[in-house]
């Protein structure tokens, strides 16, 4: 670079010193040969003709303070000498780069604004070495980064892109806490929106589509019964695993209410797909209108203690299993809400035990 540029420069500009003005306004004199190592300064001299006297000193970018300028010039002073071997340059760089982190960052900034690519590469390599292998807390401490991700943002899983077991455990705990928060939130809401995976197979969907084409309500109902039961079983199982995990984290009493909450939510939520198509034909097991459903939800918390006691009685398990799995509500009679919950909860327990 330098040779070609040198030949273009007019003789009167070949003074040995040029003038540079740093960010604080102070002007200093620097050997031209050394300063020309920086492309920015080179450009300023050639294109704008500045720097030849104190009056028209080259204005350096604001990131270049006097301290930084002297560091940059030290670097240039060493490297602009052509005769040095690679080994020498490398060992010089290793010593040169030993400084505290703040100076390192400032130097990176200064070198970048002066377009001195080799120095930028050196400093960024060093910064990368500092960051590598450290935990987020350590990195934040070194660089004074604010820990300002909100709880919510932290709760969003890190997409499993890290392998750090601490972070994974943290994410798991956060995820469970988040679910718990959400479920508590749901208890208060009548409207339930939750996305969940539509686990129906293609066959299910096809028969659903076919079943929608002008069949009688009764047969529709029975087909839907099967589908919904299958759907429910799947949802049941997924909620169960969630519930069981949550249980491990939280103590007994609230765990029970969570399970129940989970159950009720399971039966009251519909994915939008079935909602649209089934306006008239609600979920079979829920031949309960929404108002009643809301009533059930509100009952949940108060019923939890009652249910805890009931759980211990064996006769409920056997009887209610048959009822629940038979899907016997086709007769249109809405059972007593509390009993309905009891039935379902016991059935749930049975299934849970089976799964266990």
């Amino acid at each position: 670079m330098s040779e070609i540029d040198m030949s273009v420069i007019k003789p009167e500009m070949m003074k040995p010193y040029i003038w540079l003005q740093t960010s604080d306004g102070s002007i200093q004199q620097v050997e031209q040969e050394i300063a020309m190592f920086c492309p920015f300064i080179c450009q300023e001299i050639i294109q704008k003709g500045t720097g030849s006297s104190k009056n028209c000193a080259i204005c350096l970018p604001e990131k270049v303070s006097p301290a930084m300028l002297s560091l940059v010039l030290d670097y240039c002073r060493f490297h602009q000498v052509p005769g040095r071997s690679n080994k020498e340059r490398k060992s010089h760089d290793e010593k040169f780069i030993r400084m505290d982190t703040k100076r390192l960052c400032d130097l990176t900034s200064a070198a970048d604004s002066l377009q001195l690519r080799p120095l930028v590469d050196l400093t960024s390599r060093t910064l990368a070495r500092i960051i590598e292998g450290k935990s987020p807390e350590e990195i934040r401490e070194i660089f004074h980064l604010p820990d300002d991700l909100t709880e919510e943002e932290k709760l969003e899983p890190l997409k499993n892109t890290t392998d750090d077991p601490r972070i994974r455990l943290l994410n798991r705990l956060y995820a469970k806490k988040r679910k718990e928060l959400k479920e508590r939130g749901r208890l208060k809401n009548v409207e339930l929106e939750e996305e969940h995976v539509d686990e129906r197979s293609v066959d299910d969907l096809l028969s659903f589509i076919n079943g929608n084409d002008g069949d009688s309500k009764g047969s529709k109902t029975s087909k839907n019964k099967k589908k919904n039961r299958r759907k429910k079983e799947q949802k049941k199982n997924s909620t169960l695993t969630e519930a069981s995990e949550v249980k491990k984290e939280l103590s007994g009493h609230s765990a029970v209410s969570d399970k129940i909450a989970g159950t009720s939510n399971m039966y009251t939520e519909d994915d939008t797909f079935s909602h649209k198509e089934f306006d008239d034909d609600e979920d079979v097991d829920d031949e309960i209108d929404p108002a009643l459903q809301a009533k059930i939800d509100r009952h949940i918390c108060s019923e939890s203690r009652l249910l805890q006691r009931i759980v211990g009685l064996p006769q409920f398990t056997a009887a209610t299993t048959a009822t629940a799995e038979g899907g016997s509500q086709a007769d249109g009679v809405a059972p007593n809400p509390t009993t309905a919950i009891l039935f379902r909860y016991s059935a749930l327990l049975t299934t849970y035990d089976d799964d266990n």
């Binding site: 982190t101 703040k102 960052c105 990176t108 900034s109 970048d112 930028v120 590469d121 960024s124 390599r125 910064l127 990368a128 070495r129 960051i131 590598e132 292998g133 987020p136 807390e137 990195i139 934040r140 401490e141 070194i142 660089f143 004074h144 980064l145 604010p146 820990d147 300002d148 991700l149 943002e153 932290k154 890190l158 997409k159 499993n160 892109t161 890290t162 392998d163 750090d164 972070i167």
Partner: protein, 403 residues
């Protein structure tokens, strides 16, 4: 935890610098920066170089779990990534062929990939590059290992490709030839573990050529800018039986054409020649080597390894050939380093060494490594070597025995 013990040092650096820093971190560390602070959440997601090496592998002995973990990691990372990806490398890993790779290639082909390096590990079939791969128009560097390439008929080549390195890749001879000739900017070509029988290399800009494998013949057509050449042609025994020549390799057509006259072009830029498995009992092979050497006036380094398949013939004919082909005025004025390995001491090898010593005034070192252990034979060879005239006063000859 008081993090405000000073102003933020690093987050306000220009994105180009942040990217330079992140690129130099192992990929997992780079992604981990997303939880440092609000500003850092997505800084990693625009980096243009993704390198997955042994550092991104979890420490676990269950191979399947590791494979699953890594595949999932890469897939999810690509999902979160924004912007172009210029470099994508999977190297030094034990990643095996799996269906997810197809999706990665598709994603990369839509994101201006320039440098693709896919080295799969042993186990499983070779990965068949999907057809979307051939639409990567900006590709400048390609390195594949354990893959299968089957270009569609409509494929017109990679117009920007400069470097091609195929190691253990299944590709038909016609396909590889047309691939080479349809990449006008190709400068570096390396084919190893190859088992195609015949190959014609036609690449006007080619500078670095490395061929290693079971070739029947190689033909260099139109490669005037060659700077470095390394050829190792191995032949399995059963193929050799069907050959007319008794030699184990066929260099005859190497430099183009059947005509054994002087070469039309000079390889003025050729500085390094490495040739392995040259049989010094086959006149034609020796001729090819000689002509290549004499057509490279700027040759600096020469490595020749002899053929290990010789039957220790002591009878040899055709010594007049040396005077004919190597006029005494041929000078290798830049030749500095010569390395001869697997030398078995056959007469033509000796003549070859004589020729080299006699016409290389700038020679600095010559290393000779004999292949035979018998001390008598070694001594005989040494005695012969001692006689030769050396054109270079600086030449040091190392006769390396043992091992």
């Amino acid at each position: 935890m008081d993090d405000f013990s000073g102003p933020d040092l690093i987050s306000d650096l220009p994105q180009s610098i942040i990217e330079t820093i992140l690129i130099q971190l192992p990929i997992r560390d780079a992604v981990r920066t997303s939880i440092l602070s609000r500003k850092w959440r997505y800084k990693w997601s625009t980096i243009t170089q993704l390198v997955f090496d042994e550092k991104c592998y979890p420490n676990c002995h269950d191979r399947e779990a590791v494979q699953k973990n890594v595949v999932e990691f890469i897939t999810r990372l690509l999902f979160l990534h924004q912007g172009p990806i210029h470099k994508f490398q999977i190297v030094n890993t034990s990643l095996q062929n799996c269906s997810a790779i197809n999706q990665w290639i598709l994603f990369l082909s839509r994101n201006d990939i320039k440098d693709l390096d896919l080295e799969l590990a042993e186990g499983g079939e070779f990965f068949r590059m999907p057809s979307c791969f051939f639409g990567c128009e900006k590709l400048t560097r390609l390195e594949l290992s354990r893959c299968e390439l089957d270009p569609p008929v409509s494929f017109k080549g990679f117009s920007c490709l400069k470097s091609l390195n195929l190691h253990q890749v299944l590709i038909s001879p016609e396909a590889i030839e047309s691939l080479i000739s349809s990449c006008p900017l190709l400068e570096s070509l390396s084919l190893s573990y190859f088992d195609c029988l015949a190959l014609t290399v036609c690449a006007p800009n080619l500078k670095y050529l490395c061929l290693e494998g079971e070739f029947k013949e190689i033909c260099l057509v139109d490669t005037p800018l060659l700077v470095e050449l390394s050829v190792a042609m191995y032949m399995t025994d059963d193929v050799a039986e069907h050959m007319e020549q008794s030699s184990t390799c066929n260099f005859v057509k190497f430099l183009g054409g059947n005509d054994l006259g002087r070469l039309a072009i000079m390889y003025n830029n050729l500085e390094t020649i490495e040739m392995y498995q040259v049989s010094f009992e086959d006149m034609k092979e020796i001729l090819v080597v000689l002509r290549l050497i004499t057509s490279s006036p700027n040759l600096k380094e020469l490595h020749i390894s002899g053929s290990s398949n010789i039957s220790a013939a002591t009878y040899a004919a055709g010594f007049e050939f040396w005077e004919k082909e190597c006029p005494s005025d041929s000078i290798l004025s830049q030749l500095k380093v010569v390395k001869l390995t697997e030398m078995s001491g056959v007469p033509h090898e000796i003549e070859f060494i004589k020729f080299l010593l006699g016409c290389s005034p700038a020679l600095e070192t010559m290393s000779i490594i004999p292949s035979m252990y018998d001390l008598e034979c070694q001594l005989k060879m040494l005695v012969e070597l001692m006689k030769f005239r050396r054109a270079s006063t600086k030449a040091e000859i190392y006769f390396i025995r043992g091992d």
